[in-house]
Amino acid sequence: MIDTSSGGDSALLRDPFGLGGATDERIHPASVVRVVRRNFLSWRRFYRASLVSALGDPLLFLFGIGWGLGRFVGELDGVPYAQFVASGIVASSVMNVATFETTFSTFARMREQRTYEAIRATPVSLTEIMAGDVLWACCKCLLTATVMTLVLWIAGLLRSPWAALLPVAGFLVGVPFGAIGMCVTSRAQSWDYFTYYFTFGVSLMFYFSGIFFPLASMPGALQAIAWCLPLAHGVAITRALALGALGPMLLVHAAVLALYCSVTFRLAARWMHRRLVT
């Protein structure tokens, strides 16, 4: 995660956000891990509620739509409908978990609790705090994806041994959504601001990223737009693993998500500095 967000060559490492030396922006992995640990310690107190909300919604949805609607739909792309939806729901759950964490939770830490301010008085830099928040969001994605994989496996909705990699995929797919959430948070002036992103970003992606019907069934122009959405690539990855339909296209999907994450994290870091370092 840190590698993807801080780039490769040394000039980029020294000033990855084009801030012209305004801050000491070398990312120290140890500092990032300390922020993750802080979030873990605070999460330990609420982990039950956190697990219930992360798992309950998608599973209810899956059984309602997948099995309920599935009886009328039958098979899609040669796959029973419940299996088809399940393979995509893993990606959208990861999106939700990562998004909630770096929007609402990060906003609370940044503004209400002023945790960002407290940590900024220590040698941990603002970019490291942000990276820690994104990495923590991905840890929660890993957990959600793991439990979902188990439940789906028990329900007989996973048919490939490659599905064992779903938790890892969940972690990695979480990165771009965590970074995008950070961008939104760095611009948010109030809680209401997130409504826009949840309606026009998260919900839109949920319905038009190929979870419920194959993207190929949409008109060409809409298909092209859908493939610009990060969730479409996330769904393509989890579906390939769940159904065992692996191919070289997986690399393309991963590359698109990596690009998303690299661009949005830089943008978020720049906006957050402009907002907080005054």
Binding site: T23, D24, R34, R37, Q113, R114, A118, A121, T122, P123
Partner: protein, 329 residues
């Protein structure tokens, strides 16, 4: 004169080695020259010069909006320097030395920002981790600090169950967890009741006795007089006076004061004025200041039969005198 650290991978280590040299050479912990800062059109800090020596407790005394917090945020590397130069531990404040400086400073913010998701003890342990203090050592320090600040019995409590005074003490304890060479406190007792305030003062005096270098801001004259070896009076972004509390009082206020409360008339003023070194008429009181060895007896005689207050001059008199210009505006 310290050498500028090279922008290499070893910059951190080099900076630390250099700090040792600077500190052992007895250089000032903070040396600030011509510091400025503006937010948009508004100039908040307009050229401040000051220095803090090792083991010294220096106070910024001034009203709200004087530029105290802004100056503190710049020297603790939380806000970019507007103009001028600040050296902390001999290192120029700036992006290159940010981590090296922050590693050795403890900050007590004006508004408490303890971690509400963590218990009292875990607040200290997690904060220690940000400085890279090893866990066993952090546990030892946390235990010691909780005892010092009388919080041991609340170590598992959540932050929102603590009183204001406890929170403030915990904030100060947290600022000491990295064994800082400089502790910066922004209005450490604002908003506390008198009892809590005195307890905080007692703890800060104890730190002072241990030789901790401290810089604090306050708008309580009494706090500055109680805690600070040296006071800088700041107003409208400038330092308008500097010295030990005693010097400042002697120089700018005098020895003692007779205060007469309304109603008062010109006749009274004219009768007493010849016996005072200075007269100040404010809406709330008429004050006669006595300097040097001017005797007090004539004033006692002139004020006979009136109710008045006779007291030693204090920092508040200094402050009111020096900022009188503003009151008149």
């Amino acid at each position: 004169m310290p050498v500028e650290p090279q922008p290499s991978a070893a910059a951190g280590a080099a900076a630390e080695a250099e700090v040792e040299v600077a500190a052992s050479a007895g250089e000032a912990v903070i040396a600030a020259r011509g510091v400025t800062k503006r937010f948009g059109e508004r100039e908040v800090v307009c050229g401040i010069d000051f220095a803090v020596a090792r083991r010294e407790c220096v106070g910024f005394l001034g009203p709200n909006g004087a530029g105290k917090t802004t100056t503190i945020r710049m020297l603790t590397c939380q806000s970019p320097l507007g103009g001028g130069e600040i050296r902390v531990f001999g290192l120029p404040v700036g992006p290159r030395n940010e981590r090296a400086i922050k590693r050795r400073i403890g900050v007590v913010p004006q508004d408490e920002n303890l971690d509400p998701d963590l218990s009292v003890l875990v607040n200290l342990l997690v904060y220690a981790s940000y400085f890279g203090v090893p866990r066993a050592e952090a546990a030892r320090r946390a235990d010691e600090l909780l005892r010092l600040f009388a919080l041991s019995d609340r170590q598992d409590a959540r932050i929102d169950t603590l009183s204001g005074g406890m929170k403030r003490r915990l904030s100060i304890a947290r600022a000491l967890i990295n064994h800082p060479d400089l502790v910066v406190l922004d209005e450490p007792t604002t908003g506390l009741d008198p009892q809590a305030r005195h307890l905080v003062w007692e703890k800060l005096r104890e730190l002072g006795r241990r030789g901790t270098t401290m810089l604090l801001t306050t708008h309580y004259m009494e706090e500055a007089a109680q805690l600070c070896d040296r006071v800088l009076i700041v107003d409208a972004g400038r330092v308008i006076a500097e010295g030990t509390p005693r010097e400042l009082v002697r120089l700018h206020a005098g020895r003692e004061v007779f205060e007469v409360f309304p109603p008062f008339d010109d006749a009274l003023r004219e009768r007493c004025a010849p016996h005072a070194s200075r007269v100040e008429q404010a809406p709330d009181a008429l004050r006669f200041y006595l300097d040097g060895d001017l005797p007090a007896e004539p004033l006692f005689a002139a004020l006979a039969g009136r109710e008045f207050l006779h007291r030693a001059a204090n920092l508040e008199d200094v402050f009111l005198r020096l900022t009188r210009r503003d009151l008149r505006d």
